[in-house]
Amino acid sequence: MTTVAPAARNAPAVAWHHRNLIDLDVVTWPEIELIMRTTDEMNGVLARPIRKVPALNGRRVTTLFYEASTRTRVSFETAARNLSADVVSISTATSSVTKGESLVDTVRTLEALGAEILVMRHSVSGAPYRAAEVFGGHILNGGDGWHAHPTQALLDLYTMRENLPGGDLHGRKVAIVGDILHSRVARSNIWSLTAAGADLWLCGPATLLRGMDRWAAAWSGGAVPGHGRFNVTSDIEAALRDADVVMGLRIQRERMQGGLLPSLREYAARFQLNAERVSLAKPDAIVMHPGPMNEGVEISPDVAISGRSVITDQVANGVAVRMALLYLLAGSHEAAHGEAAHGEAAR
């Protein structure tokens, strides 16, 4: 009779080797599962009376927010402190950014001041890649422009797995409804949910879907390795019918000034996630929203606080997912797996 050493039995199937996490396009499904398992462990920490471990004791985490977002910043900072990291917090209002200092200069300065992990939020798509070109530590993207919000997509995935019977997204219908065009949450969810095998539907007014049909068309043959196809539609009923997960996205007032929407009232009349529409979904479907919500616009208050809503779970899981990513990034090594070659250094 052979025995398996506990260490071998528990060894993860995959090691984390990304220096930065900027987008999910370079993250494989086994790596996502590693993040999910690590998040489980972090949730275990958060269930203890003292919600703090010394994993990142003495490590320096800096949050650099070029866009106001108290919720996301506090979530990252809570995660870092739960791991006993030292946290420095910078937002545009209090930094030299407003004096015209360039991103590259700011990042170099923060590194000289000892930053090891940089959590970055920026209004311009791709900005963290620029930062990664000059930053020697690890960059964790807290959202860039319309491009990516990987920690949000991962906490969404974690929350879905937690709430769906069997914990598996495969074949599950997920409808994301709202301003898809301007949404980094939607874009990152495309990468993670098509990797998870979900039946993904993106829905909104045609003006707020612009361009996404071309992405969906490019992937319609299921050609991208590790990613399935997804649907783009303005038919809210088709999107919601028999869905397992219904996610609303924030609608911003600026969209009307840009001529993309007649009015918030008209949006609500046609696309609001209200009780009647959500009843098209499966009886046990869950309702999600990345926040902050415009209750009465993209989601009705009763749906937001209904028994189906897992919105507060998302917030709680956000801390655990961010703990997991800070932990994994801090343990990764730059040159591992030849990642430093080409642009991969920044990916």
Partner: protein, 495 residues
């Protein structure tokens, strides 16, 4: 200086930049004369700055000389360059621009008017000319004047005075002439003066805030879409206005610069077939790069199409090897799809596009080492244009003779298409003409060169090709009988 085509170089003891080339002989090279349409083995002799003899070799003498070694062609003419002086001398000066041009094989350029102040009256033109004289470079610097005073798009510039001072046309490039009414006036008034309006065709309302060509790549990258319709609609407008004014002013001429989309090129094709007096150019970067470069792809545009002619997906086939959101790729008009790049190539082949123009747009690192969406538009391209076209030639997508024509007789023909332009030195036929001042480039197709901040003579290091080897090393450029560029490695390989 003497050399033969077997790798021997002009010699390190030649004249300095700007001095007359007293004696230069090149035996057994491949000559390309786009005026006569002839190409083949030959030899040339330059004496006291004059192209004394052009001898075409045949039979045994021609043995072993191919079009893949040392090439002699007439000096190139660039219809679209930004030399940034006056006003933005950190990015480029007339002197550094001329050095870069000569490194690219160019012996003449036409600069754009978006300097500071704009070139909207003869005094600014004189500043440009005086900087060119002071540079000692023999590269001919011509200029377009602005269409509108201060390029503000409100009233006409000092068009008549500018014509008298010698501008080759009028352009508010960097921006379109937004007002159709002003464009109409400009076409008529410039036509009266015998000069073209050179239009940057863009609908500014459709492109407000735009970052990358609207399509698959921009959608995935979360970049604000820059619709093809912004160019197509503007080209349609410009052509309609041109057709409309010809009854009043038959000398009205329109040149569309940096046309980048397949539908806009098709509009130009039809307009030409209908006899409208329109010309257009395409850029090296729209021929060779695509929007997928912004995602990190670094393959040539023609490699991004599958054997079936359909676009390949860089997320599928592992083409994403470079830095994403590289700001050297931010340019106006934006890099388009592989199909658009192929349409630019087709337009060159069938004559819809008269010329390749570089839209050489040097920028400082301050303006480029920022976030993609905040970066200045433009590619520093005058030194790599030849290499990009030779890459097309190497791939079998463009005959060598057509590439050379697009850099020589093509642009000269655009200048010659207007009555006043036809009388200028920029319009002279660019051929290998015995007895005329030597104006030629010698480049070696058997050797590439690596594009680096150090190897670029332009102050603008904003090239997407940085770090990459491009084909065709320019060995020697002679402009109007004077030395414009000599490869610093020249002579090192002498046996």
């Amino acid at each position: 200086m003497s050399a033969d085509g077997n790798g021997v170089r002009p010699g390190a003891l030649g004249p300095k930049i700007g001095e007359t080339v007293e004696r230069f002989e090149l035996a057994k090279a491949w000559l390309v004369d786009p005026v006569s349409g002839r190409e083949g083995p030959g030899e040339i002799v330059v004496t006291d700055g004059i192209l004394e003899s052009v001898v075409w070799l045949e039979g045994d003498e021609a043995a072993g000389v191919t079009d893949t070694g040392v090439i002699v062609a007439p000096g190139f003419l660039d219809l679209h360059a930004h030399f940034r002086e006056p006003g933005f001398e950190d990015a480029e000066t007339v002197a550094s621009g001329c050095a870069a041009a000569a490194h690219g094989g160019y012996t003449a350029v036409v600069t754009m008017a978006n300097t500071k102040p704009a070139l909207d009256e003869p005094g600014i033109l004189e500043r440009v000319r005086s900087a060119a004289r002071a540079s000692a470079s023999p590269v001919e610097v011509h200029a377009y004047g602005a269409v509108s005073a201060g390029r503000a798009g409100e009233q006409l510039s000092a068009m008549g005075e500018l014509a008298d001072a010698g501008v080759l046309g009028y352009s508010d490039d960097g921006a379109p002439v937004k007002s159709p009414k002003l464009l109409r006036s400009a076409l008529v008034y410039a036509g009266m003066l015998g000069l073209p309006v050179v239009e940057h065709a863009e609908d500014l309302e459709l492109t407000a805030g735009a970052e990358a060509h609207e399509g698959y790549v921009a959608s995935v990258l979360g970049l604000a879409g820059w619709p093809a319709a912004a160019e197509v609609g503007a080209v349609a407008r410009d052509l309609a206005i041109l057709a409309d004014v010809l009854g009043d002013e038959p000398r009205a001429r329109l040149h569309l610069t940096h046309v980048s989309t397949a539908p806009a090129l098709e509009l130009v094709r039809r307009a030409k077939a209908n006899g409208l007096p329109v010309t257009c150019d395409v850029t090296p970067h729209h021929l060779a790069f695509t929007d997928e470069w912004i995602a990190g792809s670094r393959r040539w545009a023609w490699e991004a199409l599958g054997a079936d002619g359909k676009p390949r997906d860089p997320w599928v086939d592992g083409a994403l090897t470079g830095q994403p959101y590289d700001t050297s790729l931010r340019v106006n008009p934006p890099l388009r799809t592989a199909a658009d790049a192929a349409a630019c190539r087709d337009a060159l082949l069938d004559g819809t596009a008269d010329a390749v123009a570089t839209d050489h747009a040097p920028h400082t690192t301050v303006d480029k080492e920022v976030e993609f969406g905040l970066a200045a538009n433009g590619i520093s391209g005058i030194e790599t244009a030849l290499g990009v076209l030779l890459a097309l030639v190497d791939a079998g997508k463009l005959p060598l003779a057509r590439a050379v024509a697009a850099l020589t007789v093509g642009p000269a023909g655009v200048v010659a298409a207007s009555t006043r332009g036809a009388g200028t030195s920029a319009a002279r036929p660019r051929g290998l003409v015995e007895g005329a001042p030597a104006d030629l480039v010698v480049f070696d197709r058997s050797e590439g060169w690596r594009v680096t901040p150090g190897s670029l003579l332009s102050k603008g290091k904003n090239s997407p090709l940085l770090g990459r080897e491009v084909p065709g090393r320019v060995v020697l450029t002679i402009a109007r009988g004077r030395l414009a560029y000599e490869d610093p490695a020249a002579g090192e390989n002498d046996a």
